[in-house]
């Protein structure tokens, strides 16, 4: 077995081979699924914790503060300490709340984001499921989360929660369109919905550069729409702290609140990963045609680092506008989507189709 951090294919195939050689097919599959499940779960939890820490530090940086700095070096273990606090907190049960839905809601939200993460290629060969309809799957699964939010708001027996949930429903259903359509723009360019093929297609230039202006517009639209879809500021109307106290998760406490919290950050990570994969080449290094020496140096940086770097760059942009913009109002939010983003998107798709048809892209 030759293991390399530049190509995980041989490593994963070796595991597969060892399992199938030593176990019956059913058990081999079961063990594989368990390994992947545990790996993703661990990754999920670690990334979630790190993102919370990162957000605190970024927000502190924006606000002239130091941020967490007491627990561990640079306050690195603060989020872990907070996690333990949330684990040990009492789960408050609300009088007259719909117990079943109230308890199910956080799980739906977290499962939706958990499922979406499975389709994302982290590096060459490091990919849980490689569908040929990968993008469609991610869009479909990530929009399941809104069901959880609606249930949470509905079952809490709290008017603030209900308003937050209804806002969230309107918001996510609307922005789902823009997210989908901006991805369609790139699908036209790439000619495939498979994530691995999309990444391979960017070997000689990222789609954001290849697709001229329409790709860039699609990237901007995706960034705005996906921020709205993940309920983050300036589109955080569902929880709008100054209006609805905490919106749909007002009544949740302890670990159930942590689920919503974690899911919010993971959704941010997922949309940033998709943006990085589809527009910025995923784990593909930055290449400039003709510059052999430069390309070799870029190839030396492992794909996983490229992927994480790009993802965190987009996450940083999203944090940046969360912490500097005021919040929109619900009607302005819907106006932005239906009157601006959607028409721009539709025209953009036409232009992109035309460019691809004429073969004007690189």
């Amino acid at each position: 077995m030759n293991f390399s951090i530049y190509d995980f294919t041989s490593f994963t195939q070796w595991i597969d081979k060892v399992l199938y050689d030593n176990l019956p097919a059913f058990w081999a599959i079961a063990v594989e699924m368990t390994i992947i499940g545990v790996a993703i779960l661990l990754f999920y939890a670690l990334i979630g914790l790190f993102l919370v820490y990162a957000e605190r530090k970024v927000c502190a940086f924006m606000q002239n503060r130091v941020g967490p700095n007491r627990v561990g070096p640079f306050g690195f273990f603060q989020t872990i300490a907070d996690l333990f606090k949330l684990l040990m907190k009492e789960l408050v049960y609300i009088k007259n709340a719909d117990k079943l839905l109230f308890n199910i809601a956080p799980f739906i939200v977290i499962i939706a984001s958990f499922m979406a993460i499975a389709a994302i290629p982290f590096a060459k060969g490091l990919h849980a499921i490689d569908f040929d309809i990968g993008i469609l799957y991610v869009i479909a699964v990530s929009s399941l989360g809104v069901v959880g939010i609606l249930l949470a708001g509905w079952s809490s027996n709290n008017k603030y929660s209900l308003i937050g949930a209804m806002r969230s429903g309107a918001q996510i259903v609307s922005y789902e369109l823009s997210v989908g359509l901006s991805l369609v723009t790139i699908i036209i360019l790439a000619g495939t919905m498979q994530f691995s093929a999309i990444v391979e297609g960017q070997a000689n230039g990222w789609f954001i550069f290849k697709g001229h202006i329409p790709a860039f517009i699609a990237f901007i639209v995706f960034l705005i729409a996906s921020t709205a879809e993940t309920n983050r500021g300036p589109f955080d109307l569902a929880e709008a702290e100054s209006e609805l106290t905490a919106g749909f998760h007002t009544e949740y406490s302890g670990i159930k609140f942590a689920f919503f919290f974690l899911a919010e950050y993971m959704n941010m990570f997922i949309v940033a990963s998709i943006a990085a994969t589809v527009f910025l080449g995923g784990w593909m290094p930055f290449h400039v045609g003709g510059w052999e020496g430069f390309n070799h140096i870029m190839d030396f940086i492992p794909p996983f680092v490229w992927y994480i770097g790009k993802t965190f760059f987009i996450i940083w942009i999203m944090m940046w506008f969360k912490w500097t913009f005021p919040r929109l109002r619900i009607d302005q939010l819907l106006t932005l989507e239906w009157k601006y983003l959607l028409p721009i998107n539709l025209v953009n798709i036409l232009i992109m189709a035309f460019i691809v048809l004429m073969g004007w892209h690189f």
Partner: protein
């Protein structure tokens, strides 16, 4: 209790529902309870319920001596504590016909204006936060800290100073006071540009405030709105200009009047006022005359029997102090006309037909301080 909970809000249609905004709510800025009648997201009507922080200050005044009353006035609008003190001090001085030294007048004016800036800074913080821009809060507090440091050095406390006494000041200003104030003005002139960049010029903020909660001049007068909120509607009501006290008649400053009377205009009024306050301070800070920091007063202050009234321009509007004295060392009756109470009364009028988010923006632009409403 029951009738308080089941509030009769008139013309209740079946689709309407009520939410209790407060007494514990992030954007009521204290323990104010608003019973909001909603239809979907639209505010149909609104009923403020005061009294959650009622401490009976007016009643307490009736057993306290005048120097003691000063300490109570700090606790009304705690963000313009100096200005509240000023009102009571001037009332006592007027009643006893004491002429305070010129130095006192200068220092009081400067400190009042510093206090006004500090108050508007905190208003800006909370306005930004109510609009959802949390970063504003820290920018505003960072600059307010500088003023509080100046206060702490000279007066020994940061929020509730009780620095003015009838006839003068508690103590003279610190030797560094002038230097520090000038340094602050220089610093803040630069930093206030950040405020504009971060919030004023932001498109979302402009969209959310323009044309929202329009208050006409007639309504402003009939509801008794004062301060920047009324001036945004074009109602010239600056006490500093029309009934000058301190040394406001000697300084050059503009009473800026708005035209539209919407939330954005109310916001802009306060931003302009910070500039004007800095102008006033700059004119006075180098010219503080030498002299005593207090006039000679009797050990026990007794106001001659009669009625007295004094008004000042507090950071949120006109603060009136009315005293009925029967010649004793404590007043027979004391009444504060607090700006916030009147300003709150218009909230229902302004927010009808608006969305919940607008209600928060309007509330933030009226800038109410709850302890001043309840007293």
């Amino acid at each position: 209790m029951k009738e308080i909970i089941n509030l009769p809000v008139k013309n209740v249609e079946e689709e309407e529902y009520h939410i209790n905004m407060g007494p514990q709510h992030p954007s009521t800025h204290g323990v104010l309870r608003l019973v909001v009648s909603l239809k979907g997201e639209i505010v149909k009507s609104l009923k403020p319920h005061c009294g959650y922080i009622h401490r009976g200050i007016e009643k307490m005044c009736e057993k306290d001596t005048y120097p003691q009353i000063i300490h109570l006035t700090d606790r009304m609008d705690y963000l313009s504590a100096h200005i509240n003190n000023h009102a009571v001090c001037m009332l006592v001085e007027k009643a006893l016909e004491v002429e305070v030294p010129e130095r006192v007048k200068y220092i009081r004016t400067i400190v009042d204006e510093l206090n006004r800036i500090a108050s508007h800074q905190l208003w800006w913080c909370s306005f930004g936060m109510d609009m959802g821009g949390l970063t504003c809060f820290f920018y505003g507090l960072r600059d307010r800290e500088k003023i509080l440091d100046i206060f702490e050095e000279s007066f020994g406390s940061r929020l509730l100073h009780s620095y003015y006494t009838p006839g003068g000041l508690m103590m003279d200003i610190h030797p560094n006071f002038q230097k520090n104030v000038k340094a602050f003005i220089k610093y803040f002139r630069k930093k206030i540009k950040d405020y504009d960049e971060l919030l004023t010029g932001n498109i979302i903020m402009q969209l959310r405030t323009r044309g929202i909660g329009v208050l006409s001049k007639e309504d402003a007068i009939s509801y008794g709105i004062t301060g920047p909120s009324a001036r945004a509607s074009g109602f010239a009501c600056d006490v500093r200009k029309h009934d000058p006290y301190g040394v406001y008649d000697k300084v050059d400053f503009k009473e800026i009047l708005g035209t539209t009377g919407d939330t954005l205009e109310r916001y802009m009024m306060r931003m302009h006022e910070m500039h004007e306050s800095m102008k006033i301070i700059e004119q006075l800070i180098d010219n503080i005359p030498e002299g005593d920091y207090a006039a000679k007063m009797k050990a026990v202050i007794k106001l001659p029997a009669g009625e007295y009234f004094q008004r000042v321009e507090a950071a949120r509007g006109e603060l009136g102090v009315y005293v009925v004295s029967d010649g004793n060392k404590s007043p027979y009756r004391m009444k504060f006309r607090s700006p916030n109470f009147s300003n709150l009364s218009v909230l229902d009028h302004l927010s009808r037909g608006c969305k919940i988010a607008d209600l928060i923006a309007i509330g933030a632009s009226l800038d109410y301080v709850i302890p001043d409403i309840d007293r």
